[in-house]
Amino acid sequence: MSGGLWRDALRRLTGDRAGIAGLAILGLLALTALAGPMLIGWRQDEIDWAHMAAAPFTAPGHWLGTDRLGRDLLVRTLYGLRVSLAIALAATLVALVIGVGWGALAGYLRGRADALMMRFVDVLYALPQVFFVIILTVVFGRGPVAILVAIGAFGWLTMARIVRGQALALREREFIEAAVVGGAGTTAVVLRHIVPNLLGPVIVYATLTVPQVILVESFLSFLGIGIQEPLASLGNLIADGAAEMETAPWILAVPAGVLVLVVFAFNFLGDALRDALDPRDA
């Protein structure tokens, strides 16, 4: 039964050109970010004294040019992509674990505990999140871990709401009742019926959370309160580029292009997954 659900979803997903394009782009970018730096002869902090702020394809060995210190732009962008993707995936995982746990527990307990738990979510939700993320990075320093904690602290709220709503609604559905009447135990109902049905929205929302986290991290790094030099992230590379754009616009264009591509790809994939996993709208 649940096998049919996933097979249908897969069929719908493979039929969605934008979604498949998004997936392909992401796979390609991830592979390049992982393997690329090994294939290029430059380290990310290596300075080529002979070619500073060289335009793309003009200096030997630097396909996309160099920045103002003569560091290879392609290698730095790939390292930045690694850092941005790693933080985004980790923060999404944090949001996933806390959000699903909190939401499922609230939905399962119902009653006063549910009301109390969701009230807590409401209070955090009402806070100006970006500004609290800034406070958290100011307080806990500016490393990748601090950013992860700061973003993760708020990232789970929507997930908790979605999961709790799903769990509450699912309990009342006829097919759950039918399973119970059919003699399925609690474990079987939860594992075979509730979890698979909950998984769809969770996967969709997690996919759409990743680009959001990338944007917040880059936003902080751009402002100088995120990832710090010499570590690269797409955000601080864009900030570097913005400072040089009058004389060397490619230093801005390369990381900015990669960032936009990644965000687009994740959004396309997320939309395609939503169409694939939510047959009601199809």
Partner: protein, 312 residues
């Protein structure tokens, strides 16, 4: 009467949020490892003690919080730890008008462009205009402000030379065109998408068909019946839109060199200037609460069901 009660209820509900903002930001900055006077070179203990006494940091935390709250009620946000010549209140008073001006201008621009664009796309559903508007909307949503801002500055400021790239002099509105446009673009994109979806749904409803069947002209059906109903989700989005504009203003003020609150906040964050960051965050939170409140009121004005509490 019921409207007044509604306003009062919403105002009261906003107070706990602001209280949480103040308490949480105070607690977080006090929980920070290291004090505000940690420099590269350690201060002699006597000087450090004097500094802490001067800023009231030697008192127990709950007394500090009480003093801070009392100050806030009188509009006193305390001294800035790093800008020694200014109080936080002075920095806020200097920056708030600039931030407010570009923020509100961006919101109004977004409303004035986003809603008609979305309505146009909905009416041209499936045709070229619709596709073009929606493609632009996806781009506007996916491309972040910190990419749009340098890009616009590069094209209009440097290559074309039409507009100033950075800086700000009172009475020179040309300085504000690029910042406002940058802030408005993502909101325009989002509003266009929302308006399109919502209007399409409303146009499918039976009461619109009924209005048409009564022989009302197309224009009247659209402007008097369909649009007001379709604008509800759009107006509800104004709260989040305001939050997005305020966050974006940090980037825009930094890039275009505007002396607004956002730039002070970023500077404060870079300098670990706790009182400055705290004060700015509280003011931003208050702004967001007020804008959310206005959005709620606009919603209630458009939809009597919300006002009377009979909503769904």
């Amino acid at each position: 009467m019921s409207t007044l009660a509604f306003v009062a209820r919403r105002l009261l509900a906003a107070i706990p949020t602001l209280a949480v903002v103040i308490a949480l930001s105070f607690a977080l900055t006090r929980a920070a490892p290291g004090g505000p006077f940690d420099e590269e070179q350690a201060l002699p203990p006597e000087i450090r003690a004097n500094l802490e006494a001067a800023y009231g940091l030697d008192a127990p935390v709950h007394l500090q919080f009480g003093r801070y709250l009392r100050g806030l009620l009188q509009g006193d946000f305390g001294p800035s730890y790093k800008f020694r010549d200014f109080t936080v209140t002075e920095l806020i008073a200097g920056g708030l008008p600039v931030s407010l001006a570009i923020g509100l201008a961006a919101l109004f621009l977004a409303l004035a462009l986003g809603i008609p664009l979305g309505a146009w796309a909905a009416l041209a559903r499936g045709r070229g205009a619709d596709r073009a508007v929606m493609a632009l909307a996806v781009a506007g949503i996916s491309v972040p402000v910190f990419v749009v801002a340098p890009f616009l500055a590069l094209v209009f400021g440097i290559w074309l030379g039409w507009l100033p790239v950075a800086g700000w002099e009172p009475g020179r509105p040309a300085d504000l065109i690029l910042p406002v446009l940058t802030l408005a673009l993502p909101v325009i994109a989002y509003l266009a998408r929302l308006t399109r979806g919502s209007l399409l749904e409303v146009l499918r409803s039976t009461w619109i068909r009924a209005a048409r069947a009564r022989g009302l002209p197309r224009r009247v059906v659209l402007l008097r019946h369909a649009l007001p109903a379709a604008l509800l989700p759009v107006v509800s989005y104004l709260g989040p839109a305001a939050a997005a504009v305020l966050a974006g203003s940090l980037v825009v003020e930094t890039i275009f060199g505007l002396p607004g609150m956002g730039r002070h906040l970023v500077q404060g964050a870079l300098n670990r200037d706790y009182t400055l960051v705290m004060g700015m965050v509280i003011v931003y939170a208050a702004l967001m609460i007020v804008l959310n409140l206005l959005a709620d009121l606009a919603c209630a004005w458009l939809d009597p069901r919300i006002r009377s509490g009979r909503h769904a």
